[in-house]
Symmetry: C2
Subunit: 263 residues, 2 copies
């Protein structure tokens, strides 16, 4: 049975109550939590790794290790397995999701992380670390509320879910347009737009619960009726109908696709 996925929309409280990060420590075992911090999306991985190591230890985790590799060849070395031994949770920092995937995408380490998740290890990621989780990943794009053909670029993510495509800093950076565009490019997917200091706790049975101070926007493209994304070139707007959009506050529960292969 897979673990819980916790995409966080970035800018989570790291100073006061740290409620989202504390929730992650709790589900990973509290004082028994053994965490791996993956700071490889960051341009300053050592500083970023130390920051989260400090926070998770202060929140009572038993052990917090920082993944320290700099090449794909290290990510493909079976010795990288030692980082995952007895780990109960993996945390992905912010930064640039394409930097992270350029380093570990489709490597031995990437495969091991997916296998550990499938066997019950919980995974949280903030900002770039949230985007990186899904199979289809938003690599980068433009802000704005109106979808247009060119406003989002997708790439291969970590593959922890085949059902979702995840965006972050969602309301703060006005990313509805690019999430709608991503769903038009990949109509079987459910888009998840996570606000800052907010997380969606996704259980493997598809039960989702919003925590934090913002909202989660669900952009469900599975019943897409019509899209003419092919006709409106570059940054012209296009028409999209049949996409179900919901906006969920903290405390809301939502039924999402369960973990598993998509048809």
């Amino acid at each position: 049975m897979p673990g819980i996925l916790m995409p966080i929309g970035g800018a989570e409280d790291r100073r006061a109550g740290k409620s989202i990060l504390k929730k992650f420590v709790d589900i990973c075992g509290g004082s028994d939590a053994r965490l791996l911090v993956v700071p490889l999306a960051s341009s300053m991985p050592q500083e970023t790794g130390s920051l989260y190591q400090h926070i998770f230890l202060s929140l009572g985790a038993n052990r917090v290790t920082i993944l320290d590799i700099t090449t794909r060849s290290q990510a493909n070395d079976p010795a990288v397995r030692r980082y995952l031994e007895n780990t109960t949770g993996i945390f992905f920092s912010g930064g640039d999701q394409l930097r992270l995937l350029s380093l570990i995408g489709s490597t031995t380490l990437g495969d091991m992380i997916r296998t550990h998740y499938e066997q019950g290890v919980h995974i949280a990621g903030t900002s770039a670390g949230a985007s990186a989780m899904s199979e289809q990943m938003i690599a980068f794009g433009r802000s704005g509320m109106t979808p247009s053909q060119r406003m989002v670029q997708t790439a291969s993510g970590l593959g922890l879910s085949k059902s979702f495509i995840i965006d972050q800093h969602f309301s703060q950076r006005k990313r509805l347009g690019r999430l709608l565009t991503a769903v038009a490019l990949h109509p079987r997917l459910v888009g998840l737009g996570i606000d800052e200091d907010t997380s969606l706790m996704i259980h493997p049975d598809g039960c989702g619960e919003v925590i934090g101070t913002g909202c989660v926007t669900v952009v469900d493209g599975r019943q897409l009726e019509y899209s003419d994304i092919y006709a409106a070139k570059r940054y012209e707007p296009f028409t999209l109908t049949g996409v179900d959009v919901r906006r969920l506050e903290a405390g809301s529960r939502v039924t999402l696709p369960a973990y598993g292969p998509m048809p």
Copy 2:
């Protein structure tokens, strides 16, 4: 056992020997071939459908039906099944692959086409119809030999292969840069760049054979060593090492990933 995939690079001979289209009729049963033409990538689907219907009948096929739908609701109607009854081969025309996928991507019809392929129906597609075959599809992009972050946009294709990403009009439109970029965005994939009037016959065991008057360029990203696609923004060039590039003439054989789920 799946059928044979025949991506064609566009501008195939339709007047003289028609050798590539004839090869498709032959593998589909020759005078027993029962073909379905899918002209939905075209902006003039009726004209395009009739053109290929005429050609395939002149090449001796027993029956050639044209898929005639205009909405996703028709593509989701189980009655669409009648188009696939007793079909031995499906042919996808050129046009715009995103138009085709906006209409049938992740629909009942799209699922049925994949199931029929998996059960032995052969599939050919030219130009947009070649790009549409794979799970990760090149939707559109820029020409040029040098890869850059923004030069290619990928979307979900028909899902007939999880191993390839296919480009067409390859040498004629100088598309090496965008295929390299696509592989950097999806490092587990093997890129196939098909020249005009050329096809790669891909058997389900991974055996590939080039036919026609041009070349096939194989851009294998599975052993990617290094990519800094994240660092070079927009249309700046980026660095990519460890990608194996081969250029194969007609008559060449190549071992490709066999059909099946990717790790």
